[in-house]
Every structure is written in C-alpha cells, then in structure tokens.
Amino acid sequence: MTLVRKLRRDQDIRGIIPFLSILPIFGLASLFYGIRAGFIAIGIWSLLFLLVYLYVFVRTRNFAHLVICADAAFLGAVFLVFSPQFGAGSFPEIEFKAVYAAGILFFGILIFALVITRRLKWRGREILELAGEPVDEIGNGYTSRPRPVGKMDYTLEQIHGFARFAARNLIALPYITSKNITLVPIKMGEEYFRLLGLSGDYRDATWVNFDEDGEVSVHIAQKDYLEYREPLAFDQLCVSLGQVFIGFFELYKKGEGARFIDRMDDLRIPIFS
C-alpha cells in the first residue's frame, strides 16, 4: 500500500550541521596547531555535545540520549586524556587505537540500533502528518491565532504524566506554567534550536495547550503550515491536530500510549526527517 503524504519532502539539513561541524573543526585545528590539537578539538567538541545531550536528557528523560552522552563522554575522555601522549611515543599508539576502535564500534552499533528503532527520533513530522491525514478540504485560511478545540476531563496529575510521556518519547516538548501545559511537537533537526532557546518564543511554534480547566487549544506555526503540499483548510487542520493529541491522551489514560507510537511508526517517515 502506498502512503499518501500530506507533507512535502523534508529538505531541512540543519540537523546534521552540528555533527558535521567536527570535520572542519578537526581539519582547521590540525592544520594550524598540529594533529594533537585536532584530537583535542574533537575531545572538546565531544564534551560540548555531552553537555547539550545531558540537557536534552534532563528536559525529556529520554534514555536513548544518555547513550549519546556516554558516547560523547567516551570520545572526550579518549581524545583529551590520551591525545597529549598520542603520537608522541610515550603512549603506545596501538592501545589507543584499540580503545578508540572498540568504543566507536560499541557506541556506533548501539546508536545505530537506537536510530533504526526511532528511539532518537523527534516526532513533530509524524504529528503534522497525522493532523493532515483526515483533512481533505483545501482552503487556506491561515491565522496566527490559536484555535480552541474542545474541553476534556483530566486531572493535573494525568496531564503532567501525559506531558512526561510525550517528552520521553520525543513526541513533544512540554512547557509548564502555573495554569497551562503546552506541548510543542518538534521535528528532527529543530531540536537543538528549540531546546537551546534559539528558535524564539515557543508560543510562536506549533503547539497544543492544555489548561487547568480542561480547555484544549491549538496553534499551528505558519512555517509548519507551509510544510503541507496543499493549503489545507486551516480551521479543520487545527481541529484535527487537537484531535490527534486528544486521542493520544485517551490512549495514554488507558495505559496504551505505545499504540500511538505504533501509529506514528506506521507512517514510515524517514528516520532523519
């Protein structure tokens, strides 16, 4: 069966820039200060990544990110602790290579498995695809205003638990205020900017808000709306996005949140998209 996508093909390459940046950093450091400095640069870069991913873990409690933290810590340790001796004759080069190769192999396989099983995938694109699925009417009507989509019965504990579940599974990033819990779905490649606060106010992003009285409202950012191939009827799209989260919450309440994740997996959206 062929899946009919409502979203355009993802051509955002911002997500790979932080990873690829190590190559020019390593190259430039090696060129100007020698190969040792290049390795030290990799070590520092790894420790910076460790901090970033530690923050992602603290914010989401997604354990797959701890593996990246461990990998970054390993690389940092290898290159910063051992590299001063590396190539200088005082440290046996073969041992360094063995540690390095074993570590790279171990973490490489582990991270590959996590990527393949989508445990490191931010699900913003799946959410937008699910929201667009039932909307067939074309009509635009975009507005930057939020749309109230209904009232639900939940306790604050339930909605907090739901927000934690959504964050742990990288479905949406929660922002909690005294009266609201706002869930912001994040697409792959946007996570660094959003988490590090470089994407501006989260109220300008796409979000679903649950307030203390049970009111659910939705906002779709224009940037995300333009991701759809066709100008879908905006009002219906907002309602549909609200319904996606309401349905997701109902499943979570029954202890079947994993089914929602299955639904997203069934969309077969590319891993880095």
Partner: protein, 202 residues
C-alpha cells in the same frame, strides 16, 4: 451639554489669559477687543478671537458700536456662571440587537499578528501593519481581558462566521461587557482584521 460643546468651553477656559479677560468682563459693563488687548497686553487678534468664541457659545452678548472710526463690537457678559455638565452615558455605545447579531470572522491575509497570553486562553494584543515600503506603519492594540478572550474565540478566516453574541457566549464573557467588545469589533473592522459575513452586509 454635549461633549463637543464642553470641549470648546474647556479649550477656551484653558487659555493663559482666560481668567484675566473674564475679570475684565465681570468688572466692566462692556468691553471691546482692542480695549481688552491694550489692557492685558495681548495681540488684538487674540483678544478678538477669544471674545468672539465666547459670544458664539452664548456666554457674551455683542453690540455693534458706530463712532467716528469704523464700526466695532462691545462685548458684555450674559451669564455670571459657567457650568460644564456632561452626561458621559450619552457616549456609551449601548449594544443593539443588530450590533450583537452581526456575523463576523477573521479576515484572510489581514497582516495582523496576535500575541497570546502565556497563562491564559486569551490574546493580549494585536499588532497591525499597514502601508507599503517607507509608509509601512505598525499599530499595536492592547486588549482588555474580555476583548482578548473574545478574539480567542473569533472564527478563523474562511470558516462559518458567528454572531458577536454567540462569540461572547462561547468565550464566557459577561453580557454587560458587550460595549467594549463592540468597540473592538468596530476598530478591527476598520483595520480589515475582521470581516462581516457577506450576507449580513448592507
């Protein structure tokens, strides 16, 4: 007294020389503009305009005097008290059945930006841009809590419009606050942010 007349009174009374001219008018039986100007060291045109404005408001009477020179006017007080009494309720926009049944929705491509409150389901302000190039202007409208709530529930562009009364009810706004809602509707309609349902237009 209507607001505009009261404003004219207030404008005249606020002049620096108003009290001095009134002092002359009270103490003299009648006075001409040139006499008042010479006495208070004002320009004759200033005194003339002031006295003429008071006469137009009915505070002074004026009588044309013919002497050897060209004719001029003598001004005398007609009343010794000035009372500014404005019933502010006369400028209250009472919601009519017609205004509340107006079906409205947001207008497509309105170039407005809505700021949403962080802690509540309400809109705090609307920023509207108008004009092109160097003429482009920004106007920010801060909303009251009921207005923000109303705007939160305003139907989206290209959707079925709702009457003002229905939106007020949906947003849970007290009906007594309808005048400020209607004021916002009027303002946003002026800036092309909202539109009336086609079938409701005249």
């Amino acid at each position: 007294m209507d607001f505009r007349t009261a404003a004219k009174y207030a404008s005249l009374l606020s002049k620096d020389y108003a009290e001095d001219i009134f002092a002359l008018l009270v103490n003299y039986q009648a006075i001409s503009a040139s006499e008042a100007a010479a006495r208070l060291n004002l320009h004759i045109k200033t005194a003339q305009d002031f006295l003429e404005s008071l006469a137009q408001l009915g505070i002074l009477s004026k009588e044309e005097v013919f002497e050897k020179k060209r004719p001029y006017y003598h001004y005398a007080l007609r009343q010794t008290r000035i009372v500014i009494d404005i019933d502010l309720m006369q400028i209250k926009r009472e919601p009519t059945l017609n205004s509340l049944s107006l079906k409205i929705r947001e207008k497509q491509n309105n170039e407005a930006r809505f700021a949403v409150a962080r802690n509540d389901d309400t809109i705090t302000s609307v920023t509207i841009w108008s004009g092109e190039g160097r003429e482009r202007q920004e106007r920010k409208i801060k909303l009251t809590a009921p207005q923000g709530k109303f705007l939160y529930y305003l139907p989206f562009p290209k959707t079925t419009p709702l009457s003002v009364a229905d939106i007020i009810q949906k947003a849970g706004i007290d009906e007594s606050l309808a005048p400020e809602i209607l004021d916002l509707v009027q303002l946003l309609e002026k800036y092309d942010v909202i539109e009336q349902a086609p079938e409701m237009r005249d």
